[in-house]
């Protein structure tokens, strides 16, 4: 334990005696300071909660900070090398996605292009529908070609969505929140009836439109009958379904896709920060398959930095406002302490007479104001935490991103620092005044 110096201990002891002797004044100081410290605490708490919410959202979409993300082009060789490399490994997951339509065949989906159901999208979009293809001219310029007959096709009982196929459980990198039902089971044999886990938007579509259980997959050989396993919150606003890669590959192949529309299925691989061995194996297998380093794109997810940058301006503005409120509180404590020092001239002169150095006299005043600041901080933090305790469940009910977890300790720390700082600032001038009290004239009076 760090031994406090004699002077510091003396200052604290005498400061506490002073506070005990002047409870009403201490209370007045606390009242003037309370709002300032509370505003700093609340701003810090709100900023932490906003960051948490933004991070939680961005983690669902982008992935957890530190995760390695690798993009691999969709050639059959690359896909084969990737899937072989990751087989039996839990520290990396490969993803690919295709567009699919669930519902009646030979109709246009109600949300062409897989757009959100309640969203106006270019006045109606074009889905792949099996009627859009890419054609390239001899110079290599590629463009979409719409089948004119397709435009005559009526809109029917079908919805379009993105199907994301995974080689393993993606939730270790993108922590989807369960909403209903179950998540995919990767331990069983793959089924010919692909199990789908929907996001909220896809679930909304299936709830709103009664469609037959037939799934047309872009580039697929046949239309399988999907099974809906559950619903998750994935942070996406577009309808999406998650499926096991091996179940999808029963119906669509990388070879077929590579020769089909859009140039084939691209792969995205998520690797844990510690998956160095897996990464080495993957790179080696890809190199053996003819995929050089120049065709691999690797980055490390750093969502926190992005979020912090986007929140910085807001944080500065709100802290500025809280600082102003705190300064008003400082003026209050300064006023009360100046009056108190004025009344305690004899006490300070006497203390100097018995050998108390000027620095300790200043320290006594600062100790009193800083202890008062600490008490105020405790009250403000307690109040904020109480309100948080009551409001947090209600906020969480409003939206998942408002489920912000426990009261942030950073807010408590900010409150303590604000209290101490305000005490220091408010006590500075009175402390100097106390230290300058002359002994001779006071003791003679």
């Amino acid at each position: 334990m760090i031994r406090l110096s004699g002077r510091l201990r003396s200052a604290v002891i005498i400061g506490l005696q002073g506070i005990r002797a002047r409870k009403t004044r201490t209370l007045l100081s606390m009242v003037s300071l309370f709002l300032g410290v509370l505003s700093v605490t609340v701003v810090q708490a709100a900023s932490q909660m906003a960051q948490r919410a933004a991070l939680a959202d961005i983690e669902l979409i982008e992935g957890i900070d530190g995760t390695l993300r690798m993009y691999i082009d969709g050639t059959p060789e690359a896909a084969d090398a990737t899937i072989r490399s990751l087989e039996g490994r839990s520290d990396a997951v490969a993803l690919t996605s295709v567009q699919a339509i669930i519902g009646e065949p030979n109709v246009r989906p109600v949300n062409e292009g897989g757009v959100p159901f309640d969203q106006e999208w270019w006045g109606g979009g074009w889905g792949w529908g099996g009627h859009v293809r890419i054609e390239c001219d001899p110079t290599g310029y590629c463009y979409e070609v719409i089948d004119e007959d397709y435009l005559q096709t009526p809109v029917g009982a079908a919805i379009e969505l993105k199907v994301v196929a995974m080689s393993g459980d993606i939730r270790q990198f993108r922590p989807f929140r369960p909403v209903a039902g179950e998540w995919l089971d990767f331990t069983t044999d793959p089924s010919y009836s692909p199990g789908l886990v929907l996001n909220r938007e896809a679930a909304k579509g299936l709830e709103r439109y009664r469609v037959p259980a037939e799934m047309r997959i872009m580039g697929g050989s046949k239309n399988p009958t999907p099974r809906i396993l559950g619903v998750v919150e994935d942070g996406q606003s577009w309808p999406t379904a998650y499926v096991r890669l091996d179940e999808l590959l029963n119906w669509v192949s990388f070879e077929a896709s590579a020769n089909g529309y859009y140039g084939g299925l691209g792969l995205e691989v998520f690797l844990a920060p510690h998956a160095t061995e897996t990464l080495q194996v993957l790179r080696a297998n890809l190199a053996a398959a003819g995929i050089g380093e120049d065709r691999l794109f690797v980055d490390v997810i750093d969502s926190r930095k992005e979020v912090e940058q986007s929140l910085l301006v807001l944080r500065i503005v709100f802290f500025g406002m809280a600082g102003l409120v705190l300064l008003i509180g400082v003026a209050g404590i300064l006023n009360v302490t100046l009056a108190t020092v004025g009344e305690r001239i004899e006490e300070f002169a006497l203390r100097r007479a018995v050998g108390t150095p000027r620095t300790l006299l200043a320290g006594i005043v600062l100790a009193e104001t800083m202890i008062t600041g600490l008490f105020t901080a405790a009250a403000a933090i307690g109040f904020a935490a109480l309100v948080f305790q009551v409001a947090a469940p209600l906020l969480a009910q409003l939206h998942y991103s408002l489920a912000v977890g426990p009261f942030p300790w950073e807010a408590a720390l900010a409150g303590v620092i604000a209290g101490l700082f305000a005490g220091l600032l408010g006590g500075l001038i009175p402390a100097v005044r106390a230290a300058r009290i002359p002994i001779a004239s006071v003791m003679r009076a």
């Binding site: 200052a11 018995v354 300790l360 001779a440």
Partner: protein
């Protein structure tokens, strides 16, 4: 020959901040040895308290020399002066200067909790009780000033002056606010300290109290003059008999309630 404890040589002081600066001490010479008691008499405004504040390092002389234990401390720094006040001096004032929100023990302990070294709570308590015992009011340790008589309050102030076992006690009209009998008690208490080797400088208007000191000086025209000692109207109390008498005066035998001070906070 032993080195004097305090030696002032040609000390001058002019009071400023008024319309015209007023020379109040024009050349004070004073020598004080350990165990010696000196009374300083003089009219109001003659500079007695100013002289005391110079000796007690509250203020600085304009010229002259101040030797403490042979060391020249005329131009001592503020922090060293504070340290010397704590270690060497005890002060008693006419107006007691007790803090009303503190108990008698805490008021005495004030001289120990002053940033000049650190004593544990137990050590502080022992010293405080010893000092209060020395002035015969250990049983009042937990009382606040409002519950004490004038004499008791002044004895708390004397205990505060004695608690650090000073070498010099400076008393500025300590009996000024007390009746004659209580004043005599206070002077006897102060004089008892000199029996333990402490020097005493007593500023007073009362010739009787002055007569009980070893030496009497009169401050006139800014200079100290020796004064002939006249016999006091009341003979000094034998020092050994003092505490019992003090105890009787407060109707509480000194050692009658030892348990009462068990929880004394100092």
């Amino acid at each position: 020959m032993t080195t004097p404890l305090v030696q002032l040589i040609g000390v001058t002081k002019t009071l400023r901040g008024q319309e015209q600066p007023r020379p109040i001490l024009t050349g004070v010479d004073l020598t004080l040895h350990s165990g010696e008691s000196v009374a300083i008499l003089g009219r109001s405004g003659s500079g007695k308290s100013t002289l005391l504040s110079l000796i007690g390092l509250f203020d600085r002389a304009d010229s002259g020399q101040y030797l403490l234990d042979g060391q020249d401390i005329t131009r001592i720094s503020d922090s060293k002066a504070a340290a010397l006040r704590s270690a060497q001096f005890g002060f008693v004032f006419q107006r007691f200067f007790l803090l009303k929100h503190l108990t008698a023990a805490q008021n005495v302990a004030m001289a120990l909790v002053n940033g000049q070294g650190w004593l544990s709570r137990r050590q502080r308590r022992e010293k405080v009780l010893a000092a209060l015992d020395q002035v015969g009011i250990a049983h009042l340790a937990k009382h606040r000033p409002a519950r004490l008589s004038g004499g008791e309050q002044q004895r708390v102030a004397i205990a505060r002056a004695l608690v650090r076992e000073p070498r010099i006690i400076l008393a500025d009209e300590p009996t000024g606010a007390l009746d004659t009998e209580t004043g005599n008690l206070v002077v006897d208490t102060l004089r008892a300290a000199t029996e333990r080797g402490c020097a005493l400088v007593l500023v007073t208007h009362d010739p009787d109290h002055a007569a009980r000191m070893g030496r009497v000086l009169r401050l006139r025209d800014g200079v100290l003059h020796p004064e002939a000692v006249t016999a006091p109207s009341r003979p000094p109390e034998p020092v050994g008999a003092l505490p019992d008498r003090v105890g009787e005066a407060t109707h509480v035998p000194r050692h009658a309630r030892p348990a009462e001070n068990e929880g004394v906070r100092a």
